[in-house]
């Protein structure tokens, strides 16, 4: 909120703008340094193939993290994304097992619809029911995960049960680039367009930046908050379809624990957990950083027992570094 009067007089050189740009530049720099160090020890890191693998590995993360970002901008959090992915993956692949003739666009639409419905339930509880987002989605995380199990009674959908077309949905590369990456890019562009160039998208920032002022300005915050959870569910639904296709399986524990990564990517990418700011570039960089960390820890042959610690430490460092630099800049600026 904008209660403080301790604001800097405007300057010709906008320091906060520099700082926010610096956030993204800082992550980019962090990635470059890491990449340079890794490629010294493992030249394979710099190959085109490896780059493509990293992109493939983060595509689904980017899709879901973009939804998560919109939620975080409104000062919320959606912990149920992983379970929504699991549920849509299971339901859509089951439908494809039963009706192998279903065209792929129908499968995608089904995934989107299922995800949006689950997201709408979150949105309803949060926006209308005034349940704090972290509690609401913690609850639906277990509920949706339980539904996956209830739905399949524990059985999995395996590669050989799936129609060929579905398995190729994520991997085929008719345009020279794997479809999965294209999906991520398409979602990225759509979200960027939505957030930058539509009033509904701008309202998301307004509500997150100052909820009281949004009310004064005639923005219906309840609707905006409902919408972001629907969108988060929608993207999780799409991710569920792509997940099942990419991993050629739908299991009861599909995407279990994935929610932490979808929160980590925006947070590392400079999306303020207190709402109001953040952009698609930051999310992509954040996801990319996570992807590079995981990839390089494998490549430089760090003991697998140290990998988790290194990953946690790097994420922690990124956040602390970011906060420390930002604080210093703000202090000097104001």
């Amino acid at each position: 909120m904008l209660t403080e009067k301790k604001l800097a007089p405007a300057r010709s050189m906008s320091l906060a703008q520099l700082a926010s740009r610096f956030r993204e530049l800082g992550i980019a720099a962090f990635i470059l340094v890491l990449a340079a160090l890794v490629s010294l020890r493992a030249p394979a890191f710099l190959s085109v193939d490896n780059f493509r693998d990293i992109l493939l590995n983060i595509s689904i993360l980017v899709i879901v993290a973009l939804g998560q970002m919109m939620v975080i901008i409104t000062r919320g959090i959606d912990l149920s994304v992983s379970s929504m992915i699991g549920l849509t993956a299971m339901m859509v692949s089951s439908m494809l097992v039963l009706f192998p003739w279903l065209p792929m666009p129908a499968a995608i639409l089904l995934g989107l619809a299922l995800g949006a419905t689950l997201g709408a339930f979150n949105g309803l509880i949060i926006a209308v029911g005034n349940v704090p987002p972290i509690i609401a989605t913690l609850g639906t995380m277990s509920i949706y995960r339980g539904m996956v199990f209830f739905y399949s009674q524990g059985s999995w959908v395996n590669a050989s049960d799936m129609p060929e077309g579905f398995r190729r949905l994520a991997k085929a590369s008719p345009f020279g680039v794997p479809n999965l990456i294209l999906f991520a890019v398409a979602v990225l562009l759509l979200v960027a367009f939505f957030l930058r160039l539509t009033r509904a998208g701008r309202d998301i920032y307004a509500v997150g930046s100052n909820p009281d002022a949004a009310r004064f300005a005639g923005i219906r915050a309840q609707r905006v908050i409902f919408t972001v959870y629907v969108l988060s569910g929608l993207l999780a639904g799409l991710a569920g379809v792509l997940w099942a296709s990419r991993f050629e399986a739908a299991q009861t524990n599909t995407a279990f624990g994935f929610e932490l990564q979808t929160v980590a990517a925006p947070v590392v990418g400079g999306v303020n957990i207190f709402g109001g700011s953040g952009g698609v570039i930051g999310v992509v960089l954040g996801a990319f950083l996570l992807g590079v960390i995981e990839n390089s820890l494998t490549l430089v042959k760090i003991s697998p027992f140290w990998q988790l610690a290194a990953q946690g430490l790097l994420i922690l460092l990124a956040v602390v570094f970011d906060a420390a630099v930002l604080r210093r800049m703000q202090k000097r600026g104001s």
Binding site: A10, L197, T198, R202, Y205, S209, A213, A217
Partner: protein, 497 residues
């Protein structure tokens, strides 16, 4: 000017918050092509009234008529759609959005289904130029000064092309020049047929701008009159409802020894080179525009945001204040400006609020003695005549005036030698106001040194032994009680004349 039917009219409005009446049977009517001044002291109910008109709050009773027909605004969007716009007293900008978008938020220009940023920047630039402000529409609101923020809010309200435009203290941090630019535009809007409701504490502004004035006092309607032929004294009497001498019962106390010395205090970006002294028994008033750095100086003295440079001496001993705990130990008390955010823990009981800074006294090995605590809190509450049903009542259920008394009781319980009061009478009823002033006078007589920050010049003039004026983070004027006048203080505060 015309006797046409009012564009907007409010009848019999009442509103209570948690049992406390903010408005009781209030009415108001503004016609097209006129500026209606809304006058009342802080806490008289002006802000609540306009929030009901624009749909932020729903009234408990009464109705609003637009063009003579009943209108019910369920939220501000509904009001905006009907051409009713407002500038609220609370800062209502979006720190993460840029200036242009803050102006057009929710109404961004759309072309080909997309937000047309170029047009938005152009229009925002044009609007700001019209207001005489040099401001890049692309910078984020986070970086603006308080005055610049106020200009952006004005720009937002004007950009609506409203039929009814309500401005709640739009000038509180503007300089004389900026105010004049604003008035030109307000007159243009008026001449083009808008009804304007204007709230300001500076009476001379109302005389310069408004056609009629409606006065509220303690949440109730007092009167509506044409401004022509009314004097300042008349207005104050209407507003205050009692004699000025009664409202500002300042006793003369001979200044005692030096209690606090401040020399060259500075904090980059907030204030610099602030020096003054405070003697026992003395009330020093600190005036200035909103955002001039007064609160920041107080917060530096209290250690909330310590100063970067300079010296503080208490009773002649050099001290460094690194936090409120330490300031308290040094005998400094601070009644902050924002009662709800900084003054009280609203959800906690009156007793718990009063004893919060002094809990250590009632604790043995960390273990609280409930009886001793209640006894002490009861004493303090009684001394200040807090009206309450019990000491266990949550502070949130009290009226503004009683809340302020609880804050004062809390700080008096720490036995301060230096008491800093930041807007001590903001948002409280006249009766309590007089009581607070009475208390201040009494405390000074007991030998406490008081620094009082206030934006209300009558209060500054009525209560201070000496007056400091701040402008843009520096002390721009020092006056004795005898030499101070409203005009001199304003000139020092705005840097004109």
């Amino acid at each position: 000017m015309s006797d046409a039917a009012p564009v907007i009219e409010a009848r019999g409005l009442s509103k209570a918050f948690g049992g406390v009446h903010a408005l009781r049977d209030v009415r108001l009517a503004a016609r097209a092509g006129e500026v209606l001044a809304l006058l009342g002291e802080n806490g008289a109910g002006k802000s609540t009234l306009i929030k009901i008109i624009t749909g932020v709050y729903q009234p408990d009773a009464g109705e609003i008529l637009l063009d003579g027909r009943p209108a019910r605004f369920t939220d501000t969007r509904a009001a905006l759609d009907q051409g009713v716009a407002a500038i609220y007293q609370e800062p209502s900008l979006f720190p993460d959005l840029d200036v242009a978008e803050n102006i057009f938020v929710g109404r961004q220009p759309i072309r080909a289904g997309r937000v047309d940023w170029r047009t938005m920047y152009e229009e925002a630039g044009a609007l700001l130029r019209r207001l005489g402000v040099r401001l890049d529409p692309r910078i984020k609101a986070r970086e603006l000064s308080v005055a610049q923020m106020q200009m952006v809010e004005i720009a937002r309200a004007i950009s609506v092309n409203a039929r009814v435009l309500i401005m709640d203290e739009p000038t509180s941090s503007l300089t004389q020049g900026e105010v004049e630019e604003l008035f030109v535009i307000v007159r243009q809007l008026r001449d083009s047929g808008a009804a304007i409701i204007f709230i300001s504490h500076r009476l001379e502004e109302l005389f310069a701008l408004a056609d009629r004035v409606t006065v509220l006092r303690d949440g109730a309607y007092v009167d509506t009159r044409p401004l022509a032929g009314v004097t300042t004294e008349d207005l104050i009497r209407l507003m205050v409802g009692r004699d000025l001498a009664e409202l500002f019962p300042k006793q003369h106390v001979a200044a005692g020894e030096l209690a606090l010395e401040v020399e060259g205090l500075g904090l980059p970006g907030r204030f610099s080179d602030v020096s003054f002294e405070l003697r026992r028994g003395e009330i020093v008033g600190m005036a200035g525009l909103v955002g001039a750095g007064r609160t920041e100086v107080a917060e530096a003295l209290f250690g909330v945001m310590p100063a970067a440079s300079g010296h503080i001496r208490i009773d002649g001993h050099e001290v460094t204040v690194s936090g409120p705990e330490q300031a308290m130990a040094l005998g400094i008390g601070y009644v902050p400006e924002d009662r709800k955010q900084h003054g009280l823990v609203l959800a906690m009981s009156i007793a718990q609020n009063i004893t919060l800074p002094t809990l250590r006294r009632f604790a043995r090995m960390g273990w609280l003695s409930g009886a001793a605590e209640r006894r002490s809190a009861a004493e303090d509450a009684t001394r200040l005549e807090v009206k309450m049903s019990s000491l266990d009542q949550p502070a949130s259920q009290l009226s503004g005036g009683n809340q302020q008394k609880v804050v004062l009781a809390k700080w008096l319980s720490t036995n301060p030698q230096v008491l800093i009061l930041d807007e001590p009478t903001r948002g409280i009823d006249v009766g309590t106001k007089a009581a607070v002033h009475q208390l201040m006078s009494q405390l000074a007589a007991e030998g406490i040194a008081i620094l009082m920050i206030s934006s209300e010049l009558p209060e500054i003039l009525g209560m201070s032994d000496r007056i400091l004026v701040m402008r843009e983070g520096q002390i721009s004027g020092r006056f004795s009680r005898a030499e101070a006048t409203q005009e001199r203080l304003m000139a020092a505060a705005t840097g004109t004349g």
